[in-house]
């Protein structure tokens, strides 16, 4: 069997695996981007010393614990505080002053993972004096990461990088004033999570649950294929208030036909858009 055939075979196996997971557990990863989901499956196979995807399917179907592991692999949990500091700097300088006029600011962090960016946003709001009238809804598909996010504890080893990010994002206070080190974790001040609501939400299947002045969904869409991206974009568009803002990851963007029609580009580099229905 040559390389092309084997990769074709692997694609078939992966599709079967995802279909099996969907039918057995109701978790729908079928529309996730093939290349990234493939990497995650191969990682799990390597760890479990499984030779073929079909064998993994067998394990997954008969062993819910294996499903749980794979599920954790699938939900992308790479995040950091003030990731892409320039994004947060733009938020601080350009966007938050515009949001300041609302009596209550609703922000949705879709795909918040372990909450690094959510706490970053809370800090940003606090420093700009908007935190008390803000409500952050942080959602993710994975309950486990949400539990972690609620704790607000991040590994000590990352804090140096986070400090740099914080400074580069235009931070004006002592970053060390927001956390206390406990063992190997930096625990962030409970007052930061006061206005944050963590909730499980599946972008693939669930609908809108409120109207927001800002939606932040960074580095989630790149793991979806086009049709799913379209679905999620539609969900965001309908969840944004008029003139609400949408913040995406650095390698993401609007779908072609959406530009100009639905959004106005606020910052093309930082992927910040403003809903503009032309009304």
């Amino acid at each position: 069997m040559n390389v092309q055939q084997s990769s074709k075979m692997e694609t078939i196996e992966i599709k079967l695996l995802l279909e099996g997971i969907y039918q057995c557990y109701g978790l729908d990863f079928r529309d996730y981007a093939m290349t990234s989901i493939r990497r995650r499956i191969l990682y799990r196979m390597k760890v479990e010393k499984i030779a073929t995807v079909t064998q993994l399917l067998d394990r997954v179907l008969h062993d819910p614990k294996m499903m749980e592991k794979l599920y954790f692999d699938f939900s992308i949990n790479v995040s950091e505080m003030f990731r892409d500091p320039s994004f947060f700097l733009t938020m601080r300088k350009k966007i938050l002053p515009k949001l300041a006029k609302y009596p209550l600011i609703r922000i949705w962090h879709a795909g918040c993972s372990t909450g690094e960016e959510v706490y970053s946003m809370a800090i940003l709001l606090k420093e700009e004096g908007l935190f008390d009238k803000s409500r952050i809804y942080a959602t993710d598909i994975n309950e486990r990461v949400l539990e972690a996010a609620k704790k607000g504890e991040f590994p000590l080893k990352k804090m140096q990088d986070y400090t740099n990010n914080y400074v580069n994002s235009g931070g004006v206070q002592d970053f060390s004033g927001y956390y206390t080190v406990q063992k190997d974790f930096a625990k962030f001040d409970a007052s930061l999570s006061k206005n944050i609501t963590f909730a499980q939400h599946n972008l693939v299947t669930d609908g809108s649950f409120n109207e927001f002045h800002m939606i932040i969904c960074r580095n989630v869409l790149i793991y979806f294929n086009r049709s799913l991206q379209e679905r999620v974009h539609s969900l965001f568009f309908h969840s944004l208030s008029n003139n609400g803002f949408l913040g995406l990851g650095s390698r993401e963007g609007l779908l072609n036909r959406m530009t100009n029609l639905q959004y106005q580009v606020i910052d093309n580099k930082e992927k910040i858009y403003q809903k503009d229905t032309g009304v």
């Binding site: 004096g129 008390d132 000590l156 080893k157 804090m159 140096q160 400090t163 740099n164 400074v167 235009g170 931070g171 004006v172 206070q173 002592d174 970053f175 060390s176 004033g177 956390y179 206390t180 080190v181 930096a186 409970a190 007052s191 006061k194």
Partner: protein, 897 residues
């Protein structure tokens, strides 16, 4: 008899005859065959047997002769062959006995048998003699044998001839039979031929005759005729049935022919009717006038129905009176006497009645004095009169009267009915058209009127347009004014910006000042406190008193600076309200803890009285409430020498129904005069300028309290009499949140900023865990302020770190170059000789220290300097005064490897 039967009988008989003949021939042939068989089988067999006996006997005779002459040695053999021959003869005779039946032959056979018998005996005798007695003994016998042999041959020949005779007889017999057979055959065939001819002739002739009669009748048929010839029915045979069927067909053809004729007639009538109606409708198409319609119509329809007189009336409604009026007549003008009436009332006469009941009326036998039809040569009475109503949608709109000299045929009547229907529609149409024409005329008149009105309106519009232009000019003018205003606004904004800028400079100045003032002051205070502790016990009481004065004065100075800073912040709007749950009992406890000792010291009573209805938790900014109460209570205690200071907490209803919590601070102190009650809330004012020395204080407390109260949407009032104490009341609005929403959970404790916290709190130190990331690590503190160095060293050594220090940036760099075991640097920014920025930049330039964590110590109010620290190479920064917990966390982050 049917043809089938006849044919069956005729041809059946012929077949029977032929069958009989064939049977006869077969019988005769069989017989012949039998005869010939007998001839061959029987007679030939007998002859053959007889010939065999003869030859055998001859052989015996010959043998015997030979035997007698032959030698002895052959004798026995010869004897044997003779005996065999004799046995053969016996066998043949036995067969012959069975098959010979003729009498004559039987007698001969018996003779032969006896002769053969005796011959054989003789031969046997001879043989035995030859055998036993020798040849000689035979003599005499052999001659006897020869004799006997001759007899036998005779008999046999006789027998053969008899048998041959019988054979010839038989042949003769069979010949006779054959001749008979030929005769019979010929005669029977003849009979059959004759019989067949007769039958055929009879049948054919009969069929031919009858078919010919049918053909003759059929030939005589004339197509299209309604009377067809019929066949006479003869017999019930097949031809009879054909005749019957033909007759039925003829009947059907006749019926069909008749129906077709009737149908064609009907169609023709219909065509006629339709054509006439079409003509009539063509006629009335162009007519727009009812009178002309009547004339034209009558001219056409009267000849159409062969009538000679006609008159047309139409119905009119006039002032609720219905009548008929004549619109036209045909051939009736001369005789005025019998001319139809011009106006007929509803129901009057036959015409009126016809209009009323809408039914057609026909009259015959017209009386003499009725209308007469006249021409130039004479007059005649009509034979029949018809009065036809003209309908439209079930209503009568007119009546037509017609008279004829002959009679109205049904077809004509039908035409009239249809024509009047058509006429009704035409009359309606003409009426409508006339109405439309009238309306059109009216409309034209109205149109002309409108035209003139429109011209008038155009004039008015012109006027309005002129006015509009004037308004536009005015609008342009006001626009210009708006622009001017806009410019003014921009100018004003520019001014505001400048103002804001100068305000910013002011606050930066204040912040710098606070740093510059507080840092030495902090050192002063802590050092004074350390001296007061007098650990080395080498200070005199007097010296200790001095030190405590230094401490007290320094403390006052610090408070003043803090108050100024607070007030500046409030006035700049930089203070935010952080609402949380405030536990009332905790508030009470902490106030008692703070003020009870002070009161006891002064010998006055201190009481707190909280009303039962007060919620256990209030949702407010706890810190600010606490600060206000602290101000009010410390003032009250300060100005009270004897008596009591009391805090009452009660509910209070505002004038618009809102609810407040009322904190009432009353004392029995010196009181405030009426005119001073306004002044005390102004900044830097006390009730009495002279007392300020006696009571100390900044005079800012009440100003701050009032501003803070306003921030919380509350307010403070004062009532007082000089010498009789004062009552300060702080009204705090209760949030509308229902109480149960406020959880029992402890409100998050906000750590009150305590100045100075540069020195490590001993309790904090004992509780600190010796952390793996900190223990044994070397930290370099670079600070020119000895007090800071001291406090930081104490705090850092408490968690097991090794501390070194440098007084300024240059020394710090030098130390680093001489010691390569430094894990982290704490760097003050504002230093003489070389400041923190420069020092950090230089350190970073050395490749060895690129990754060395450097934490900058920055002043609280100087947020924009932090970026500068990072740019200069700091890994992180921490604001002074340093919170120890924060410092430890930060060190752990940067010492993590």
């Amino acid at each position: 008899m049917k043809y089938t039967t006849r044919l069956y009988v005729g041809f059946g008989l012929m077949i029977l005859l032929v069958t009989v003949m064939i049977a006869l021939i077969v019988g005769i042939l069989n017989h012949q065959n039998q005869d010939i068989h007998n001839l061959v089988e029987d007679r030939y067999e007998k002859i053959k047997l007889l010939n065999h006996i003869r030859s055998s006997t001859k052989n015996i005779d010959n043998e015997l002769t030979i035997l007698l002459q032959s030698a002895d040695k052959d004798k026995e053999e010869k004897v044997l062959s003779i005996r065999e021959a004799m046995i053969g003869i016996d066998d043949d005779i036995a067969v012959l006995k069975d098959i010979i039946k003729a009498q004559e032959a039987k007698a001969l056979l018996n003779t032969l048998i006896s002769q053969v018998d005796s011959y054989e005996k003789t031969v046997e005798e001879s043989l035995s003699r030859v055998l036993y007695n020798g040849t000689n003994a035979v003599f005499g016998i052999d001659s006897m044998a020869s004799e006997q042999y001759g007899q036998i041959v005779t008999v046999i020949d006789e027998l053969i001839s008899i048998q041959e005779g019988i054979m010839e007889d038989t042949l003769d017999n069979s010949k006779a039979t054959y001749d008979l057979f030929i005769k019979i055959s010929i005669s029977s065939i003849m009979i059959a031929l004759i019989f067949g001819y007769v039958v055929s002739k009879w049948v054919i002739r009969d069929i031919k005759t009858r078919f010919r009669s049918i053909r003759d009748v059929m030939k005589s048929i004339q197509y299209g005729s309604e009377n067809l010839p019929r066949l006479k029915l003869t017999g019930k045979d097949e031809i009879g049935e054909i005749a019957l069927a033909y007759n039925e067909m003829a009947q059907a053809l006749e019926d069909h022919e008749r129906m077709e004729r009737e149908y064609t007639e009907e169609i023709e009538e219909q065509n006629w009717l339709a054509k006439q109606l079409a003509d009539l409708s063509m006629l009335s198409q162009e007519i727009l006038d009812i009178l002309k319609l009547g004339d034209t119509y009558l001219q056409e329809i009267v000849p159409m129905v062969d009538a000679t007189y006609g008159s047309l009336y139409i119905v009119k409604d006039e002032q609720s009176l219905r009548y008929l009026t004549q619109v036209s007549s045909y051939a009736g003008a001369e005789n005025i006497e019998f001319e139809g009436k011009e106006k007929i009332k509803w129901g009057e006469g036959l015409v009126g009645q016809c209009a009323k009941d809408g039914k057609i009326k026909q009259l015959f036998h017209i009386p003499d004095n009725y209308i007469s039809i006249s021409s130039s040569i004479g007059e005649a009475k009509p034979n029949a009169i018809m009065i036809v109503p003209i309908h439209l949608d079930g209503e009568v709109v007119g009546v037509m009267e017609l008279a004829t000299l002959t009679e109205f045929t049904p077809l004509q009547e039908k035409l009239l009915m249809e024509a009047t229907k058509q006429l009704g529609i035409t009359i309606y149409r003409i009426n409508q058209q006339m109405q439309v024409r009238n309306l059109l005329e009216e409309a034209q008149t109205l149109n002309e009127e409108l035209q003139s009105q429109s011209e008038e309106l155009q004039l008015q519009q012109e006027e309005l347009r002129t006015m509009n232009e004037e308004l536009e000019a005015q609008y342009r003018h006001s626009e210009q004014k708006t622009k001017d205003l806009e410019n003014t606004k921009l100018e004003l904004e520019e001014r505001t910006k400048q103002l804001q800028l100068s305000s910013k400079y002011k606050s930066e100045f204040l912040a710098n000042m606070s740093h510059e003032l507080r840092t030495p002051l902090n050192s002063l205070l802590i050092l004074a406190q350390i001296l007061l502790e007098n650990k080395e016990e080498n200070l005199t009481v007097k010296q200790k008193e001095y030190v405590s004065t230094i401490y007290a004065a320094g403390k006052d100075l610090l408070n003043l600076i803090n108050d100024i800073l607070d007030l500046t912040k409030i006035e700049a709007g930089k203070l935010d309200v952080h609402e949380i749950e405030m536990n009332m009992s905790e508030l009470e406890q902490s106030l008692i803890k703070q003020f009870e000792p002070l009161a006891v010291k002064k010998g006055i009573q201190f009481k707190i009285d909280i009303e039962a209805g007060i919620p256990r938790f209030l949702y407010t900014d706890e810190q600010k409430v606490y600060q206000i109460l602290k101000n009010l209570l410390s003032n009250a205690i300060k100005f009270t020498e004897r008596g009591f200071v009391k805090l009452e907490v009660k509910k209070h209803a505002g004038s618009w129904g809102e609810t407040y919590v009322m904190f009432k601070v009353s004392d029995t102190g010196i009181g405030i005069s009426k005119q001073n009650q306004q002044l005390i809330f102004e900044a830097f004012q006390q009730a009495d300028g002279t007392t300020s020395r006696k009571y100390g204080g900044t005079g800012l407390g009440l100003s701050i309290s009032r501003e803070l109260a306003a921030l919380l949407n509350g307010y403070i009032t004062v009532t007082s009499q000089e010498g009789n104490g004062s009552i300060f009341t702080f009204y705090l609005p209760i949030s509308n949140l229902p109480e149960k929403l406020i959880s029992e959970q402890e409100a998050a404790v906000t750590v009150e900023e305590v100045y100075p916290q540069l020195i490590a709190d001993p309790t904090l130190l004992t509780e600190s865990v010796q952390d793996q990331y900190l223990v044994g690590k070397k930290v370099l503190v670079v600070d020119d302020d000895m007090r800071n160095v001291f406090s930081l060293t104490t705090a850092l050594e408490a968690v097991g770190m090794n501390v070194s220090f440098a007084e300024n940036g240059r020394d710090g760099i030098q130390y680093l170059q001489e010691h390569d075991d430094v894990d982290i640097v704490l760097m003050d920014i504002m230093m003489p000789e070389m400041d923190g920025y420069e020092a950090m930049s230089k350190i970073r330039k050395d490749a060895r220290f690129v990754d060395l964590p450097i934490v900058a110590l920055t002043a609280k109010a100087m947020s924009h300097d932090r970026k500068k620290c990072i740019d200069a190479g700091a890994s992180d920064y921490i604001t002074k005064p340093v919170n120890l917990e924060q410092l430890y966390s930060l060190l752990k982050v940067w010492l993590y490897k």
